[in-house]
Amino acid sequence: MPLDIEMLNFLDSPNFVSLAALEVGQHFYWHIGSLKVHGQVFLATWFVMSVLIIASLLATRNIQQIPKGMQNLMEYAMDFIRELTRNQIGEKEYRPWVPFIGTLFLFIFVCNWSGALIPWKLIHLPEGELAAPTNDINTTVALSLLVSIAYFYAGFKKKGLSYFAKYVQPTPILLPIAVLEDFTKPLSLSFRLFGNILADELVVGVLVLLVPLFVPLPVMLLGLFTSAIQALVFATLAGAYIHEALEGHGDEHEEEHA
């Protein structure tokens, strides 16, 4: 879903000192075969991936009984993710989903914060600009489709074809709504993340355009906060959807009291 976008005229006009150019929808295209891909997203994503991989390697290289430094940080993150997953999916079945939810959370979190914390603007691309990879709708759609696949997989693995019973479970009248829900889930997941991150960057960009110094700082801090919350929300919702697929309508109550 490439957004081929033209800039608002006033942002282009020479009256504004171009301290911050907002380049919504201008992309650094790479041609791979017949595909046109957004190169700037790839570059930023690779950066995020290498940060995560290096952090994990550093944390696990020299594991000690009493953690310190990097290992301590990663153990804290691990605990946090495990708690999150357990709260959503439940004591019995959360274990195999910790890696998936954790990867989603860490990837989105580092993506969002990289957009705000790393001075990408210093690196000039021929076209487009480097920013948080999550401010491209392709990234967020891919992530939310992964979540869709994950919860279908979870449901099928546990219940086989009787997974489809949940569509007609209380009453078949609700079938269209139940089917529709499978489409709105990835739609809302992807739009929420995309919109929030893009909105953050736009607000900061516009403020920097108007007042370059100091004034955008509080908004940037707010941006950091909402980015973190959005990563949390995405991971939480992924967990909740998987939980929903794992649980039927019938055994919901006994699970909760167990």
């Binding site: 976008i5 929030n196 929300v233």
Partner: protein
């Protein structure tokens, strides 16, 4: 009125109207959270966490409006 000026008005309306409902909702949620904290101060941490999460959900409704507004401004399918 041509399509582009209609789009600009529509974008403004989209974000403005989309912020009405979530605004009311966030106000209600925060009010209840404050009430809950006043009633049971020891549960503050838990209430705050849940509140932030629900606020983010309500916020996302406005963000949908914002996405529509951005599409109308930057990627309008009806212009050209």
């Amino acid at each position: 009125m041509d399509v582009s000026s209609a789009s600009v008005i529509a974008a403004a309306l989209a974000i403005g109207l989309a912020s009405l409902g979530p605004g009311i909702g966030q106000g209600n949620a925060s009010a209840s959270a404050v009430e809950g904290i006043a009633r049971q101060p020891e549960a503050e941490g838990k209430i705050r966490g849940t509140l932030l999460l629900t606020l983010a959900f309500m916020e996302s409704l406005t963000i949908y409006g914002l996405v529509i507004a951005l599409v109308l401004l930057f990627a309008n399918p009806f212009v050209k």
